[in-house]
Amino acid sequence: MAQKKDVWQGTLALMVLKTLDTLGPLHGYGIARRIEQTSGDLLAVNYGTLYPALLKLEQEGYIRSEWGLSDNNRKAKYYKLTRAGKKQLEREARDWEQTTSILARFLAPGEEPS
C-alpha cells in the first residue's frame, strides 16, 4: 500500500475553496471525501482536521455555513463559497500555479534558464 501524504495546512484551505467552487454547497464530510477522491486516494485527510480549517475560512469570510438536510435526510452543516471566497480562490490558485511553475523549472533536469 502506497504511503498516503498528509495534507499540509495552507493547501487544505485552497482545496476546500476549490471543492466548494466546483461542487457548490457541501457539508464537511462531503468536502473530505471529495478531496480524498480527487487526489486519487493519495492524500489522507484526517477528517477531524478539516473542521478547524473550515472555521478559519468562515471567520475570514470566504465561506458561509448553514444547517441543511443531506441526500439521505440527515441534518448537516453545509458550507458555501462567498464572493470574497471566490476571489480568494482565484488569487490563491494563481499564486499556487506560479509557485509550482517556478519549482518545476527549478527541478527540471539539465535545462539552463535562458
Partner: protein, 885 residues
C-alpha cells in the same frame, strides 16, 4: 481587514462557548453518521462501519480542542476563566477578602488623598497657560528679610526689562485695599494696582470687556478698573451692564472696563485691578522697593538662564548706583514654586507617610496571602500534577491578586471622592482663601491615573511575590506530606522578614506621626512672648486722598484708640503694623547705631521694624525687660524714641548698656532722625515658620505715621462682641473708613497654623493605622507559625517539656523578630527624626523620649500579639497534636 474580522468573531466566540460546543458536536455527529451510512452501503457490518468511520475521523477530543482554540481567543478565555476562578475563591473566603481589600484600600486611599493635595497645590496651583514660564522677580537688599518681602524698585524693574533679554514681558504690581463707596455705604475691597501688561504676562484676558492699555498707565488716565468674577456676581449680581459703569473708590471715580473670568485670582483672591500709574518721580525711584513683579520668560529660556541674565544687570546697577543698589541682588523664582516654599517639605513628608502606610498594608496583605498559599499548597500540587504549567499557575495567582487590588482600588477611589472633599472643606476658608489651588483639591484625572497606577503596581507585585513564593512547592513532596507541610523552611524566613520589615516601618511612621502631632500640640505655644486670649483684632486703612497729612492720621488714630479704650469692658487698645501670627513677615530695615557707623552702607545691621501705639505692649501683655515703653506723650513734637526687643539688645549691647543709646533707620548716610532707646521688651514670635527671634525695633506711631495698621483691643471677655462697638467708634470719626478682617487674635493664631494642624491630624491617623497594622501583622505570623508547629510542640510536650517552655519558645520568637525590626528601625527613625526637626522649622527637636517610648510601645504590642498564640501553644494536648503525624 480579514484579520480584524476574524479577531472580532473570535472575540464573540469566546463568550458563546456552550452553544458553539454543542454545534460542533452536532456537526461531527452528522459527519460520523454520513460516513457510517456510506460504509454500510459499501457492505460493511454495522460495527465495522462505525469503527472505520471513527478511525477516519481521528481523535474527536483533540479536534475539538483545536477547533475551540481556533474559535475563540485562548488567552482571553483563560483570563476569563482565571477571573471567574479568582472571583469564586475570593467569594468563598469573605473574611480574607474583606480584610485584604480594606487593608489595601486604606493604603491606596491614603495615597490618593494626599496626592490629590500635592497635585492641586504643588503641581498646578494656578491655571495660567505655560505656568512654568512665569517667574517672580525681586530684589534682595542683602539683609536678612522675611521671605515674604519680595519687592523691587520701579526703576530697577524697568532696567531689568530692557537689560535682561530673557523676559517676554515683566509686569509690576502693588496690592492693597480700596474703600468702595456704593451710595454712601463704604466697604473695603482688596485690589491691585497693576501695570498694563499684567494680564498679558499671566496669559489671561478678561471674560468680558478689555484689559488696560499702555496709555492708562499715566496718572490722570488711570481711572479704569477690571473687576473679578466674584465681585461682579456678589455686588452686581452678574449684570453685564456693569461694563462702562462708574464705581467710586477712595474718593475717585473708576470706569469698569473689564470682568475677569471665574477663578482668576492673582496674586491672591482679588476683587479688582486698576492701572499702576506712577508719577515720573516714582517711576525713576531706585531707593524704595515698592513694587512686586512677575515675568514671563521667553520661550526656551530656563530659570537658570534668566537668573544669570538678571544677575549681570544687577551687578551693573550695583556699580552705577552704589548709593541705592550697593548690595542688591535680583532673585528669580518660578511662580509655581513660590507659594509652597514653607510647606513643600511638609507635603512631601505627608506623601512619604502615606507611602509608608501603603507599605505596611502591603506587608500585612503579603502575610495573609502567603498564609493562604500555604493552605493551598495541596491544591497547587494537584494542579501541577494534573499538568498545569508554572506559567498557567502564575497567571492564576496574578489574576487573583490583581482582582484584589482592583477591588481595593475601586473602594479607595470611591471613598476618596468623599474623603478628599472632607479634607478640602475641613480647613477654615479664612485660611484656605490664601492658598492658591486649595479649592482645586479634588479627585481629577491625574489623581485617578495615579491611583490606577498604584493599584496595578501593588497587584502585580503581590502576584509576582505569590508566584515566586508558590513556585517552590514540589508536587511530590507536598502530596506525600499530605497537608502537613514543611516546618519552618525558607518560607518561614520570608514571613519573618516581613514581620521585621513591618515593625521597622511602624516604628519610623510612629515616630514621624508622634513628632508632627507633638508639633501641632506645641504650635500654639510657639507664639510666645504675648497673650492672645481676649484680644479683638481688625485691620484698618486710611486712604491717602482724605488723609494726606500726618497730623490727620494722628488725630484719627488718637480718636479711635481713646474711643475704643473707653468702651465698657475694654482695658486697652493699640495699633501695630503687623500683629503676630499674621503669616506675613515684618518689614526688615537697616539701622545705624550712633557711634558705630559702618564704613559701607551695605554692612549696616538690620532688624525688623514695628510701628505701634503706646499700649501695644500692654494689650498683648508683652513683658517689659528694662526701661519703659513709650506713651502717648512720645508724639511728633517730642524727642524721637524707640523700644527694642530683648534679642536685639542682647545682640548689639551684650553688656546691657542699651538704654539711652541712639539708633537711626537706614545706613550711616541716611537722613532719618536719631531715636533714643528707652526700653527693652520680651521677644515676640511673629510667625510659626521662623524659629529664631529676630531683632525688632518698635517705633511710636505718632512719630512714624502709617496709613495701614492692625488694631488690637484687650477686653475682659468675649472680644468678638466688641466688633460693632469699635465699628461705631470709627464711624463716629469718619464714616468713609471700613474695618476688615475683624476677629479674635486667638482665631488668627489657630487659622495661621491650620495647615500644620491638618497635617498633625493626618499624621496621627497614619500613626494609629501603622500601630494597628503592625500588631495585626505580628499576630498573624505568630499564630500561623504556632498552628504549623503544633505537631512539633506536641512532640516537645510529650517528651516532657513544660507548658512554660512552650510559651517561652513562642514569645521568644516574637521578641526576636520584633527586636531585629526595632534594631533596624531605631537608627532610621533617629535619622528621620533629625531630618524632620529641620523640616518643621525648629518647632520639633530630636526627641529621644519619643523614640524610646514608641520602641517600648511596639515591643509591648508585639508581645501582646504573641501572647494569644503562645497561650494556644501552651494548651496543646500532645495526643491531639501528635495524631496529625
Amino acid at each position: 481587514m480579514r484579520g480584524l474580522r476574524g479577531f472580532l468573531l473570535r472575540l464573540v466566540g469566546s463568550f458563546r462557548k456552550e452553544r458553539n460546543d454543542r454545534e460542533l458536536a452536532d456537526e461531527m455527529e452528522s459527519h460520523l453518521q454520513m460516513h457510517i451510512d456510506d460504509n454500510l452501503r459499501s457492505g460493511m457490518s454495522a460495527q465495522e462501519a462505525r469503527r472505520q468511520a471513527l478511525l477516519k475521523l481521528g481523535g474527536v477530543e483533540p479536534t475539538k480542542e483545536i477547533y475551540r482554540e481556533r474559535r475563540g481567543l485562548p488567552l482571553l478565555e483563560t483570563v476569563l476563566q482565571d477571573l471567574r476562578y479568582a472571583t469564586r475563591t475570593l467569594r468563598k473566603n469573605p473574611g480574607f477578602t474583606i480584610i485584604a481589600v480594606l487593608t489595601l484600600a486604606l493604603g491606596i486611599g491614603a495615597n490618593t488623598a494626599i496626592f490629590s493635595m500635592v497635585n492641586a497645590l504643588l503641581l498646578r496651583p494656578y491655571n495660567f497657560p505655560e505656568l512654568d514660564r512665569l517667574v517672580r522677580v525681586w530684589e534682595n537688599r542683602g539683609i536678612e528679610e522675611g521671605a515674604d518681602a519680595r519687592f523691587i524698585a520701579p526703576q530697577d524693574a524697568a532696567d531689568l526689562q530692557s537689560g535682561a533679554p530673557v523676559f517676554d514681558a515683566l509686569a509690576t504690581y502693588k496690592c492693597g485695599e480700596f474703600n468702595l463707596n456704593t451710595e454712601g455705604n463704604v466697604q473695603p475691597v482688596v485690589g491691585c494696582h497693576v501695570s498694563a501688561n499684567f494680564f498679558d504676562v499671566l496669559g489671561v484676558s478678561p471674560a468680558l470687556g478689555r484689559a488696560f492699555s499702555a496709555t492708562e498707565e499715566e496718572p490722570g488716565a488711570d481711572q479704569v478698573a477690571v473687576v473679578s468674577y466674584g465681585f461682579w456676581q456678589r455686588r452686581f449680581a452678574g449684570d453685564a451692564a456693569l461694563l462702562g459703569t462708574v464705581i467710586q473708590m477712595n474718593g475717585k471715580k473708576y470706569t469698569v472696563v473689564g470682568i475677569m473670568p471665574r477663578g482668576f485670582d492673582y496674586p491672591v483672591p482679588m476683587e479688582l485691578w486698576v492701572p499702576l500709574a506712577l508719577s515720573p518721580a516714582e517711576k525713576t525711584d531706585r531707593a524704595k522697593l515698592s513694587l512686586e513683579s512677575l515675568g514671563r520668560l521667553e520661550p526656551g529660556i530656563n530659570v537658570a538662564q534668566a537668573r544669570s541674565a538678571v544677575d549681570s544687570v544687577s551687578r551693573r546697577l550695583q556699580q552705577e548706583y552704589p548709593a541705592t543698589n550697593a548690595n542688591r541682588r535680583t532673585e528669580v523664582l518660578q511662580l509655581r514654586k513660590e507659594l509652597y516654599l514653607y510647606t513643600l517639605p511638609l507635603f512631601l513628608l505627608l506623601q512619604a507617610a502615606a507611602v509608608f502606610v501603603l507599605l505596611l498594608a502591603c506587608a500585612n496583605l503579603a502575610n495573609l496571602l502567603f498564609a493562604r498559599i500555604f493552605g493551598r499548597q495541596k491544591e497547587i500540587a494537584v494542579r501541577t500534577a494534573l499538568g498545569a504549567g508554572r506559567w498557567r499557575l502564575a497567571r492564576l495567582f496574578v489574576t487573583e491578586t490583581l482582582l484584589l487590588s482592583c477591588i481595593a482600588g475601586v473602594v479607595a477611589v470611591a471613598v476618596s471622592f468623599w474623603s478628599v472633599k472632607v479634607l478640602r472643606t475641613s480647613i477654615a476658608p479664612s485660611w484656605t482663601m490664601w492658598v492658591p489651588g486649595w479649592d482645586g483639591i479634588h479627585v481629577d484625572r491625574t489623581v485617578l491615573a495615579f491611583t490606577v497606577l498604584l493599584t496595578a503596581v501593588v497587584g502585580l507585585l503581590f502576584g509576582l511575590g505569590t508566584v515566586l513564593h508558590s513556585s517552590q512547592a514540589q508536587p511530590y513532596t507536598t502530596l506525600k506530606e499530605a497537608g502537613r507541610g514543611p516546618m519552618l523552611g525558607s518560607k518561614g524566613r520570608l514571613r519573618s522578614a516581613l514581620v521585621v520589615a513591618q515593625v521597622m516601618l511602624a516604628l519610623v511612621l510612629l515616630v514621624c506621626a508622634g513628632l508632627t502631632t507633638q508639633a501641632f500640640l506645641r504650635l500654639v505655644d510657639v507664639y510666645q512672648g504675648f497673650q492672645a486670649a481676649n484680644v479683638l483684632r481688625t485691620e484698618i486703612r486710611l486712604p491717602e486722598k482724605s488723609y494726606p497729612e500726618n497730623s490727620q492720621i494722628a488725630s484719627f488714630y488718637d480718636g479711635m484708640l481713646r474711643g475704643s479704650a473707653s468702651l465698657p469692658g475694654a482695658s486697652a487698645a493699640a495699633l501695630v503694623t503687623n500683629s503676630p501670627a499674621s503669616n506675613v513677615d515684618n518689614e526688615a530695615t537697616f539701622f545705624t547705631i550712633n557711634g558705630r557707623a559702618t564704613a559701607k552702607a551695605s554692612e549696616a545691621p538690620s532688624a525688623d521694624l514695628q510701628i505701634s501705639s503706646a499700649d501695644y505692649f500692654s494689650v498683648l501683655r508683652i513683658p517689659l525687660v528694662a526701661g519703659r515703653t513709650y506713651t502717648f506723650a512720645d508724639n511728633a513734637n517730642a524727642a524721637r524714641v524707640a523700644v527694642i526687643s530683648r534679642s536685639m539688645a542682647a545682640r548689639y549691647w551684650p553688656n546691657g548698656d542699651e538704654l539711652g543709646q541712639q539708633i537711626k533707620l537706614g545706613a550711616s548716610d541716611s537722613t532719618e532722625p536719631w531715636m533714643t532707646i528707652v526700653g527693652v521688651v520680651e521677644d515676640v514670635r511673629q510667625n510659626w515658620w521662623n524659629p529664631t527671634n529676630r531683632p525688632t525695633i518698635y517705633e511710636p506711631i505718632f512719630q512714624a505715621h502709617q496709613r495701614s495698621m492692625v488694631f488690637l483691643m484687650r477686653v475682659a471677655s468675649n472680644p468678638e462682641g466688641y466688633a460693632s462697638a469699635v465699628r461705631d467708634v470709627v464711624r463716629g470719626i469718619d464714616d468713609q473708613i471700613a474695618l476688615t478682617g475683624v476677629g479674635t487674635l486667638e482665631k488668627e493664631i489657630t487659622d495661621s497654623i491650620a495647615i500644620i494642624r491638618i497635617m498633625g491630624v493626618l499624621m496621627a491617623l497614619f500613626g494609629c493605622v501603622a500601630l494597628a497594622l503592625s500588631s495585626v501583622g505580628v499576630y498573624g505570623v505568630l499564630a500561623e507559625g504556632v498552628a504549623r508547629r503544633l505537631p512539633e510542640i506536641g512532640v516537645r510536650l510529650a517528651l516532657g517539656a513544660e507548658p512554660r517552655d512552650v510559651m517561652k519558645l513562642v514569645l521568644g520568637q516574637a521578641l526576636k523578630l520584633t527586636g531585629i525590626g526595632l534594631a533596624i528601625g531605631v537608627p532610621i527613625a533617629f535619622a528621620v527624626n533629625r531630618a524632620m526637626s529641620s523640616l518643621i522649622f525648629g518647632i520639633v527637636s530630636v526627641n529621644l523620649l519619643l523614640l524610646a517610648g514608641f520602641t517600648l510601645l511596639l515591643l509591648l504590642v508585639a508581645l501582646a500579639a504573641a501572647y494569644i498564640p503562645a497561650r494556644r501553644a501552651m494548651r496543646v494536648d500532645p495526643m491531639v497534636a501528635l495524631r496529625y503525624e
